[in-house]
């Protein structure tokens, strides 16, 4: 154990390194206050004011309690030969007073907190709706025009209602800078209202424990000055991108929750070096990873399960969710991961050797190639009722 302890001690200057790297404030925005991150939504200011009001009232009470306590302890400390002095052990007036007077403050806190809460729960008519899908362990955001992204893009000063649902377990959508939070519940829709009042980039966390990689289920919220800026960031037109870039995007939206590309196994095997390799299966046979195997594994995950991930694959089928074209893009991405440079053809699956020669015609509308991450037939819609 000694080497580890020495190692531990040798990293005692970690704090200094940290300050060098992130500055004395860490990675905090200059707009943040001591207690809070920047006020980036319409409700943040009143929320913080109420917090500080409670903070100062509590501090006053606390100092009074501890001050009186310390004073009594010193003044009435036990001295040799001195008896406790008689004093009243009951005083109805004072007892009722110190019960009732603090209650008045509590009523104020309740009223103000309830009022701010109600404002934050009622989006105005015509608020833009963005669909948020939580699944282990990433977020997908679907915009009114059908665009999707794994990061949230909002427009400054535009009231936005996030309609949220979960594909598996409980999650919770939390943007500290917005002071707003809502659980994402399987089997029912929840919503989250926000009107961003500051442009910039803000942290998004999952705050309801959801399994192994709960702490990795975080992303960014970008607030753009206008619609055009957002459009440029969110719209994804397949033909403008290389095939592997399309594949990478599909991978992030559909696969990255369970498959890493850093060589570390997660729920499923890591997929960065998989192309062309020989994989051992649970039945002892081996299979070469090629187009047919990838396609089969996406559509029928249980057909050939890699050793160590059985006996039954935890993966759901993507048949009907990913088109053949999408699978072509993913194949191009795996090739690119194995050897950058292959599968670079813009807008189309990599040419020739892949055998899937039907290069997407440039005229094909991009929308039809969007991953179908919002299939209408999805189960959670059933049996809801608020």
């Amino acid at each position: 154990m000694f080497p580890q302890i020495l190692n531990f001690l040798s990293q005692a200057d970690y704090v200094n390194k940290y300050v060098d790297q992130f500055g004395p404030n860490g990675a905090r925005s200059p707009d943040s206050s001591y207690w809070f991150p920047e006020q980036a939504s319409s409700i943040a200011r009143s929320n913080d004011s109420l917090y500080m009001a409670i903070f100062w009232v509590s501090t006053a009470f606390f100092l009074a309690i501890v001050g009186v306590m310390c004073y009594f302890v010193i003044k009435y400390r036990r001295r040799p030969g001195v008896c406790p002095q008689p004093s009243s052990s009951h005083n109805t007036t004072i007892e009722i007073l110190w019960s009732v007077l603090p209650s008045i403050l509590l009523v104020w806190f309740f009223y103000q907190g309830a009022w701010d809460y109600l404002i934050s729960k009622y989006p105005p008519e015509g608020a833009e709706e963005v669909v948020v899908t939580g699944k282990k362990w990433d977020w997908t955001f679907t915009y009114p025009d059908g665009d999707q992204a794994s990061e949230l893009h909002l427009v400054l000063d535009r009231p936005t209602k996030l309609v949220m649902r979960s594909e598996d377990v409980l999650h919770s959508f939390f943007v500290p800078a917005f002071r707003q939070k809502m659980d994402v519940v399987p089997g029912r829709y929840t919503y989250y209202y926000v009107k961003p009042t500051m442009d910039g980039i803000f942290r998004v966390f999952c705050t309801e424990y959801c399994g192994d990689n709960h702490s990795g289920m975080k992303t960014w919220c970008h607030v753009h000055k206008d619609d055009a800026t957002r459009k440029a960031k969110t719209e994804w037109i397949n033909k403008d991108h290389k095939a592997w870039e399309n594949g990478e995007r599909l991978f992030k939206l559909n696969c990255a929750g369970c498959h890493n590309i850093n060589g570390v196994a997660a729920t499923g095997p890591a997929l960065n070096a998989i192309w062309g390799s020989e994989e051992s299966l649970i039945d002892g046979t081996k299979v070469k990873v090629d187009e047919n195997y990838v396609s089969e594994s996406i559509k029928y995950p249980n057909a050939k399960v890699v050793a160590g991930y059985g006996p039954v694959s935890k993966m759901q089928t993507f048949e009907g969710k990913l088109s053949n074209q999408d699978i072509d893009y993913l194949i191009a991405y795996f090739k690119h991961l194995k050897q950058p440079g292959s599968g670079d053809t813009a807008g189309a699956p990599a040419t020739g050797a892949e055998g899937n020669g039907s290069a997407a015609p440039a005229a094909e509308p991009a929308k039809t190639e969007e991953p179908k991450a919002e299939p209408a037939a999805d189960k959670p819609a059933e049996g809801t009722g608020g």
């Binding site: 531990f8 704090v15 790297q21 990675a27 207690w35 809070f36 929320n47 109420l50 917090y51 409670i54 009232v57 606390f62 501890v66 306590m69 009594f72 302890v73 009435y76 400390r77 036990r78 008896c83 406790p84 002095q85 052990s89 009951h90 007892e95 110190w98 603090p102 209650s103 806190f109 309740f110 907190g113 309830a114 809460y117 109600l118 729960k121 377990v169 409980l170 919770s172 500290p176 002071r179 707003q180 939070k181 809502m182 659980d183 519940v185 399987p186 089997g187 029912r188 929840t190 966390f205 309801e208 424990y209 959801c210 399994g211 709960h214 702490s215 990795g216 196994a265 189960k379 049996g383």
Partner: protein, 579 residues
Amino acid sequence: MATAEVRHELFGHAEQKNYLNCSKGALSWLLTLDHKRIGIMYLIGVSVALLLAGFFALMLRTHLYYGDSSFLALKWLFGEAANYNANKVYNQMFTLHGAIMVFSFIIPSVPAALGNMVLPMMLGAKDVAFPRLNLASFYLWVFGTGFLIVALMNGGLDTGWTFYTPYSIETDTGVVYATMGAFILGFSSIFTGINFLVTVNTMRAPGMGWYGMPLFLWSLYATAIIQILATPVLGITLLMLIAERMLGIGIFNPKFGGDPVLFQHFFWFYSHPAVYIMILPAMGVISELISVHAQKRIFGYSFIAFSSVAIALLGFLVWGHHMFTSGQSIVVNLIFSAITFSVAIPSAVKVFNWLATLYKGSIALNTPMCYALSFIFLFGIGGLTGLFLATLSTDIHLHDTYFVVAHFHFVMVGGTLTAFLGGMFHWWPKFFGRMYNDFLGRIGCFLVFAGFNLTFFPQFVMGARGMPRRYASYDPEFQIFHQWSTIGAFVLGIGIVLSFAVLLHAVWFGRKVAGNPWGAGSLEWQSSSPPSFHNFDHKPIFHDPYDFDALVYDKGLDTYVAREFMDPNQVPERVPVTH
């Protein structure tokens, strides 16, 4: 009255004949029906649980010293297995830390361990009403805790102590073992509750009315009500969870039309009142400590007594405040927020009453009093930070962040653990007849206090800045707070170990003390120390427990006795002793 020898036997240090040495052998302990021995077995049990769960806490705090999981303290423990997954191990650590602390330590700590030893003697009774039920309760505790340990060894448990569905339905860890454990521990708790309720109702000493009871008994009585009424709901909920996992009955699982939020309602309908199972007895301990060690009648007896009952009853109506972001309706959130504020009042009343008790007292700054003062400080912060969480709009931001973690640790550890330790130091001379090293005891108290603040105060700041709880890794901006917190956790750990060492040392090597070294008025102090098997070798004479003028100092015995038992050859003396 009687001769010097008899007086010594009745009120002095009982070396020869006491409950510890009246019978020998392992079975005389394992099958004992004596509430004091059961209490001591409970004490050993819950202390082991505390140390085990505390060890988990240190492991996860060490892990969090570095934000990127690069420092793998846990890897030492779990070996270099190829499938080592830092997040997974971290998740199991915090789950077992929470589950064992809550179900095996905090809930039984004051009621079952201290309560068992003290409650019958405070009533002037020989034992609890149902001694066999009492022993059964202890063995249920053993089995229940055993199940939690089995869960630890069979794939661990990674749901958080809350077992939220649907994650707890689909995880492949030992949920069934752990829920069985919590289910059995629930019965242990119910048995203790029933026993105490009946004992207090039927076995009070002649002359002791309800308002003659020490406040510790009021708080145990209020706790027993909660244990009996709320714990069955937990039992049923956990059974339904097991059924859902094994049979797929579709109550909580949305895949079969169930509702995961329903589980949260069931769970918190028990677990919020359980918070008061944890804190009410602690408040009772503090009422005793403050009053005895200031030699002052407790201020506002009936307000404190009824605030216990009020907290017990209101505690049933506030569970929804754990679910402000869960998707329950807006109106429900408003109602729960309002009722939650109402619980703040009786808690504040108690603190004010304790302060007023100190007024014009004779305050001895010994170890129990240090813990009591530390309790007021820490519980003050814990209670006041509850206001931020009861307020709807601020709670939405703070919910499920480290702010909540810090808040409930201030109440559970700063409150209950502090009172538990204070109670141990208060009643230790009674049950072992030995005085500990008071100086080291105070050092231990200070380390617990300082380490605790260093651990949890930074978590308020982190939480308000947005650090979510149950995260195995975190953004760089939170690092400095996590590092302070980790250092504090180790100081806290050292303080707790030191306190236990001081107490254990006293059992064998402490200075011998007689029946009532503190000059306390409640009946358990009318016996010898340690008490005899039957608790009292004479008929205890009931006095108002807070009437310190009814006690006189007996120089021959070096202890306090009731005026009736005064040595006729001595001049009665009322002055508190300074040791």
